[in-house]
Structures are given as C-alpha cells and as structure tokens.
Amino acid sequence: MSDLLLSARDLTVRFGGVLAVNGVSFDVPRGGVFTLIGPNGAGKTTVFNLISRIYTPTSGTIEFDGVRIDRSPPHRIADLGIARTFQNIELFEHATVLQNLLIGRHMHRRSGFWSELVFAPDVRRAERETRRKVEEVIDFLDLQHYRDTMVAGLPYGVRKVVELARALCMEPRLLLLDEPSSGLNVEETGDMAFWIEDIRDDLGITVLMVEHDMSLVSKVSDRVLAMNQGEVLAVGTPAQVQNDPSVVEAYLGTADDATSLRRVA
C-alpha cells in the first residue's frame, strides 16, 4: 500500500474552446488535509468534478488507491470510498435531516428488492444498523437538535454541516469538500475548521478541499496546491505557497502592473 491515496496525471479538460484544466498533475498523500486554492475560474471545482466523475477528462488519468477511476461510471465513485460536498449545497430538500443522512448510507445497503417489499427481518436488522451508524455521525457533528427537521426549513450554516454529515455517513476514505466555509460566518467557519481537523485526526479520513478563506486554509491544511487559469502554480505547505512569487502575482498582480496602473492614473 503506497502512501499516495489519489494521484492525477496531466489532467486536461476542454469545454469547446475553453481549456478549463490544462495538464494538471498532483498527488494527495494518505491522511492529512490537501487544499486547492486559486482565483475564481482557476479550475478548482472542475478538478473536483473530474474526481467525482461528473466530467470526463479530455486526457490524463486519475488513480485512487491504485485504481484508475477516470473512466468508471459516476455512481461507482462512492463505492470506492470517495464522498463529496457541493459548493451550493445539494441536499434532499423535502426530507428530514435524518432521512438525508440515511440516504448517505445507500452504498452500504445489503437488502434486496424482494425482501424490502415484505420488509423481511434482515431488512429490519440492516435498518437498525444503518440508524446506529447515522447516530454516530449525528453525535460527532452535534446535529441531535435538527434530527427530525425538514432540510428546506434549516438555516444555511446548518445545511452546510448536514451536507458534511451526509458525506461522513458514507464512511469514505477520501472526502472532497467544495468550499466548506462559503456562506458561513466567522464562528461557523471556526467550527468547520475544528470539524475538518477532527475528521482528519479522529476518523482518519483524507480530506481534499477547495477553499478561499486563507485563515481556514493555513489553519487546517497540511499541503496546498495553488492553481490559476487551469494550471498548477505551486505546491507545498501553506506558508510556502502563500509566499510563492507566482501565487502572489496571480492574486495581486506584479509590481510592474502596479506602476503601469499608476502612470495611467
């Protein structure tokens, strides 16, 4: 077993004439938090959608734990042990929090269609076991209070946590978080940082996330990859990447840009 959980090689995606991701290669080590940063439109979410197989790469390969996944059907990704959350929360709105989490256990189901029709004793046993597992996640993320609430009536910050909980119910080996702090206030972002650390340390799940909030990134990340315009700028520890000249340039522009601006003004 190598210590690389996920490795992408020369990933390229072209949407018509737009080169969304261009020859991106990176390795996510087992354990730890790996963060993708970059300005808007850098291709971070596209990389996520490539891993969860919503998009198919134009060229390049993705290996998860030694298995090629860049051509496998999207629903197989969950079975392999990759869970994800979405930037704009994709919960099942007309269901309670508990039901949402139960759906997260779908890949662990054992009952067949016919025994479900008569709700045979083994289905009931499996259901009890499913609920026990879900309660563990509810306890882990302090969601007891919202268990029977409809998602449609929950505030945004709680939905974000419910989506995280649903992903954890899948018992993944790799958790993809697409902007876990977007739309959260300072306190909620702080909580999210604690949970991400707990997920890494207590549950031993490798986290791959896209994030804009640099304080959260430097707090929880073990490694950071900076992207711009579909290409990799820098990889390293949070401090290394933040001080990399090409990253500074992508976010703030160069000194030359600043002087030329001044001249125009």
Binding site: I54, I77, E93, F119, R124, M170
Partner: protein, 358 residues
Amino acid sequence: MRFLFKTRYDQDIDLARHAGDRLWYGLLLALLVIAPAWLPEYWLAQLTFVLIYGVVGVGLMLLAGYTGLFSLGHAAFLGVGAYTETVLASMGWPFPLSLAAATALSAAVGAIVGLPALRVKGIYLAIATLAFGFIVEEILARWESVTGGNAGKIVPTLDVFGWKADTPASFYFVCLVVAVIATLAVLNLLRAPTGRAFVAIRDSEISAQSMGIHLARYKTLSFMVSAALAGVGGALYAHQIRFLSPDQFGILQSIDLLLMIVIGGLGSIHGAFLGALFLITMPQLITLGKDYLPGAVAEATGLQAFVYGIVLIAFVLFEPMGLYGRWLKLRTWFDLFPFYRAGMFRRQKSFQKSDRLR
C-alpha cells in the same frame, strides 16, 4: 398534543408511529371489512372503484410523487393489465396466475417506457409517455384478434381455482385484499434503501449519484413498480367494468390519474387514496348538484370537465400539497390550538437554485 419520546430505532422504522396510529388504521380496516354489510350496492361498487384507483394511484405516486418522474401515459399500463387479465381469464387461467402475468407484463412494458426517462425529464418525459399512451391505445384498437378492437371485449367472471367472485361483495373483498397488500408493499419499499434512493433522485440527481445511487437502475425500477401496480389496478378494473374498449385507456384516463394524485397530495400514500376518493365521488356530487342548478347550466355539455378544471386550478394555486396537505394542516391546527400560525407550512424560499449543477 402528543409528544413522542423515541427510545428505540424501531419507533422510526415501524409503519405505525404510535398506538393511536394502530387504533385509527385498525378502525378504518374494520370499517372497510364490514362495508358490504351496511353500504348500499351502488355505493359498494363506487368504493370498489376507489380501491382500484387507489392501487393505480399508489403506483403513480411512487413514480411522480416520490421519484419525481411524471407520466402522462399511465392509462396505457392500466390497459395492458386489463387486457392481459381479460385474455388470460377467457382462456381459463385462475385469477392469481393471470393477475401475476398481467403485473409482470405491465412491469416489462414499464421498463421499456422507462428508457427515455434515463435521458429526458420534466415536460419532455411527459411528452414521451404521452406518445407511448397513444401508441398503446392504437395497438389495443387495431390488434383485433386479441383485444376485440373497437367492438370491445367481454370480461369473464373472476375465478380463483373454482371459487367465483360473482357478487359485488365478494369482488369487493378481492379488491380490498389486493389494495392492502399493494399499499403495504409500497410502504415497505419507501422505508427501505430503495425508497430513499427514489426520494434522493427526486430532490437532487447529482447528489444522489455521488451517494452511489445508480440513477438508471432506480429510475427503471421506479417505472417498473409503478407500471406493475397500474397493471394490477387494470386487472381489477377489467373485472369491475366487465366490458373493455380501447377508449377507456386513452389520454383522458391518463389525465384523470395524474389529476388524482395531484389533488390527493404529491408525495404521500394517503394522497393516492384521498385522490381516488375525490375522483370517484366528484362526478356523483356533480350529478347530485345538477338538481339545484339552473337548467341551462345543468344541461351544458362539459360541465364535469369544467368543474374538474376549476378544482385542479384551485388546488395548484391554494393547496399544492393536496387533500392530504389540507388534512395535515387541520390536524396541526387541532394539535396546537390555539397557537396555530398562518405561515407554519410555508416553505422557505431557496435562492441557490440558479447555478446548481444539472
């Protein structure tokens, strides 16, 4: 007001949430069992229709209300079930076998019709199923050697290995048993992983997929179960109506079925039966009401369609959750009296939809 303290997982898993549920549903079942003793024959026949349409409604509810796939051709499955049953019963098959065959054939046809559902959704799926409905109606009319064509076909008496359901009461019991079994089976499915997968597909396909739900498989399965139940309903319908002709399974029937579950309340099994009750009693009520209307209005053609249309529009505008939603609100009002607030069931608007992944 009742507070439920949950101490065991089984309290969530069981169909009855508490003793009150068992009492009321037990009473309802008892009332239905003794119905032939106190209902006049005409109303017993109407109740039989309610049960038959209820079975079809439960199937359509599973598809439209729980999986989010709308079918405008459901009468076709009803027709497949009805004609299969009639043809096999005429050949002397006993009812359990012919019913199983009718169910299986409808399910198989459902799997084929489900194929476009893997690619299109919403209004486009409705059009695809509508076209399918026309095709089946046409086949029923043209395949004269089997269906009798537009001349129609007489349905033999229901026969279970020699026992004949030749009185309204005995046939009513057959329908009651079938309806109870079908409803329990669907409820079981809905509280198991398969039912949850249906709901997941309804609310967010992209998310369902990332949970490991095989979209194509579950959509096809939903279509098959739904069509199978329509086939069961069709087989019973054939024996109840005693004479089949293709025009009974046309677009109007399909719209009636869809109307039934929308008015009953999408996303609830109660809604399927409340909708069936509405669908069967409404024409009776209109007929009764005619006596009190001025002659020109009472005799006008299309009065029934007009009233249906008005009721449907009223429901979509004022009570999107249907009859069952109305009942829930009424119950909550009594539960919380005097603290019920007008906005309690109002949905919070979500402003995140615009840039959702498709």
